[in-house]
């Protein structure tokens, strides 16, 4: 089953194209070229693999590919708010593919008898299967939590002895893995292998239940890395450098995104994976004596009209309310009056890295007006109005001042430095981190309670009707 030089060369070309695909993602202007490079690389990989002489069951391939298109096309048309779930689901598919190929390779080798499963290949296959199946169930759980499926608990699930149970299961898995690697053609090997698969599936599940629903984005990035690494293991098993290169690229991507998210939240990997963060909520309440000042939409509209620089700070609430199109109308109204409008984008605003950017881009807001946190913070003192739209943790000054706060040390957008702050949210409930936000009690802050889409819609109406009088 050795590959011809032509195939090897095609795989090399595809690997280089994958590298360029990710390289071109470094700027919006070249990013679509990156997609084309990725598509070309994948097409080359498929065609040259298929064209190898030992591939004979062509109709099987046609059928499976057709089925892939039938499911894949609709999956690509989900609303943007469902992108995290879709990504998680996709990782489940990817994990399943790697695991199934690994399983097939093992049983094949076992049937063909001694000599086919070298120790090296067995190590690769075991790793491929463990990573693949673990990604499968882990990603399904993550997708479920993100979709807020009712029977999957959002809260972290912990129970006494959790660690001991996990360690025992791990020991069993390692023992079986060593056995099957040393003696891959033993009559019992398929059974051992099946148990390893079962344990991997279980691990995926156990890995996710102690993590709160809101930490799923970081988990998704880590699962992305696992999916990449299972492709790397497949590459070692099949002696195929294309799989290794592409898998390594994915592994790096998942790792770096997870690190970026952890840094922006000022938390460690360990804390995300075992910290059961969402539980903090009940501990910190206090400050019930404090008062919010509300403002009417009319009043807010008048203030906005007089501003020179308005900074809009979107957060998860904007995504929930799907308010981006109304924000676009607000942006147009303000622009028409010659007011400078900038969007302050916190790296972990929302529930996914880059979440705010895609939503605002969807509403046709030029990306040149989306400003990163570090940059906008230097301009904040000049802002006449900071308009917080469904953001909470990312503008919480406690991160700067309160050492006891769970978000202490997390970099934030300095909304409190603007001359005036309007904050849109539905209630007095806290955000993701489950803590109160001093910003809302500040002297210069006025609340606009209500659904973000509705409130902004009314603001726009005010401005549109008032625009003649101006």
């Amino acid at each position: 089953m050795a590959m011809t030089g032509v195939t090897q060369f095609a795989y090399l070309v595809a690997s280089v194209l994958f590298i360029f695909a990710l390289h071109w993602m470094n700027a919006p202007a070249t990013a679509r070229r990156g997609v084309r490079a990725g598509v070309a690389a994948t097409a080359i990989a498929v065609v040259f693999t298929w064209a190898q002489p030992f591939i004979i069951h062509h109709w099987w391939i046609v059928g499976a590919i057709a089925a892939g298109f039938i499911v894949g096309v609709p999956l690509s048309m989900v609303p943007l708010t469902a992108v995290p779930q879709r990504t998680a689901l996709s990782h489940a598919f990817g994990g399943a593919a790697a695991g199934l190929v690994g399983t097939a390779e093992f049983y094949l080798g076992w049937q063909e008898g001694p000599g086919h499963l070298t120790t090296f290949k067995m190590v690769a296959l075991v790793l491929e299967c463990i990573l693949g199946y673990l990604t499968l169930t882990g990603s399904l759980m993550a997708a479920g939590k993100l979709q807020e499926i009712s029977w999957i608990p959002q809260r972290p699930v912990t129970y006494p002895g959790q660690n001991i149970v996990n360690l025992i299961l791990l020991a069993v898995a390692i023992g079986l893995a060593v056995a099957v690697i040393i003696n891959p053609t033993a009559p019992a090997a398929p059974l051992w292998f099946a148990i390893i698969i079962g344990l991997a599936l279980l691990f995926g599940f156990l890995l996710i239940i102690p993590i709160g629903g809101a930490d799923m984005p970081t988990v998704i990035a880590i699962l992305n890395a696992y999916a990449g690494l299972s492709a790397v293991a497949m590459g070692f098993a099949l002696d195929n450098r294309l799989l290794i290169t592409a898998g390594a690229l994915d592994g790096s991507s998942g790792l770096i995104l997870a690190i970026i998210m952890c840094k922006a939240m000022n938390r460690s990997f360990i804390n995300v994976l075992f910290g059961a963060f969402g539980q903090v909520q009940k501990v910190i309440v206090g400050g019930e004596a404090k008062v919010y000042k509300s403002e009417t939409v009319e009043g807010a509209a008048q203030v906005l009209e007089q501003a020179n620089l308005v900074v809009i700070i979107p957060g998860y609430g904007m995504a929930v309310a799907q308010a981006q199109h109304k924000i676009r109308e607000l942006y147009d109204q303000l622009k028409k009056r010659g007011i400078t409008v900038k969007f302050a984008i916190h790296p972990v605003a929302g529930r996914m890295p880059g979440h705010m950017n895609v939503l605002l881009a969807e509403a046709d807001i030029p990306y040149t007006d989306l400003v990163e946190m570090e940059e906008i913070n230097t301009d904040m003192p000049q802002a006449d109005v900071a308009l917080v739209v469904g953001a909470n943790d990312v503008v919480n000054p406690a991160a700067r001042t309160d050492k006891t706060s769970p978000i202490y040390g997390m970099p934030i957008i300095d909304a409190d430095k603007a001359r005036m702050v309007f904050a849109i949210k539905r209630s007095k409930n806290p955000g993701f981190a489950g803590i109160d936000n001093e910003l809302y009690f500040a002297d210069r802050t006025w609340m606009l309670f209500g659904d973000a889409k509705a409130v902004i819609g009314e603001l726009v109406k005010q401005l549109a009707s008032g625009s003649g009088m101006h």
Partner: protein
């Protein structure tokens, strides 16, 4: 160790270094599309799936392969399509905005 092990490990290490270098420079604007394009790229497992599905192997092995091929192909199709769909939305302010 197979003779190919060390060269192949080299490939893995170098590819990882490239990955770290390239991904660190991806614009923060594009982190969501980045997640979906890497999702599509990790479906490169399609190579192994095709081999297992199309070779002269026993039926049950090929069934496993076909499921894997279906899963990989789903990721490829949906991953690239949704990435492109998102990227199409990113526009500069230079053109008259709001043509839509």
């Amino acid at each position: 160790m197979t003779p190919d092990f060390w060269p192949t490990l080299f490939v893995f290490v170098l590819a990882s270094l490239i990955g770290l270098g390239v991904i660190r420079r991806v614009s923060r604007l594009l982190h969501t599309p980045l997640m979906s394009i890497t999702n599509a790229i990790s479906a490169i497992a399609v190579v192994g799936s095709i081999i297992v599905t199309g070779s002269d192997y026993p039926l049950e092995i090929r069934i496993l392969g076909a499921i894997a091929l279906f899963a990989s192909m789903t990721n490829i199709v949906s991953g690239f399509l949704i990435t492109d769909r998102m990227l199409k939305m990113f526009k500069t302010g230079s053109k008259p905005a709001g043509e839509k």
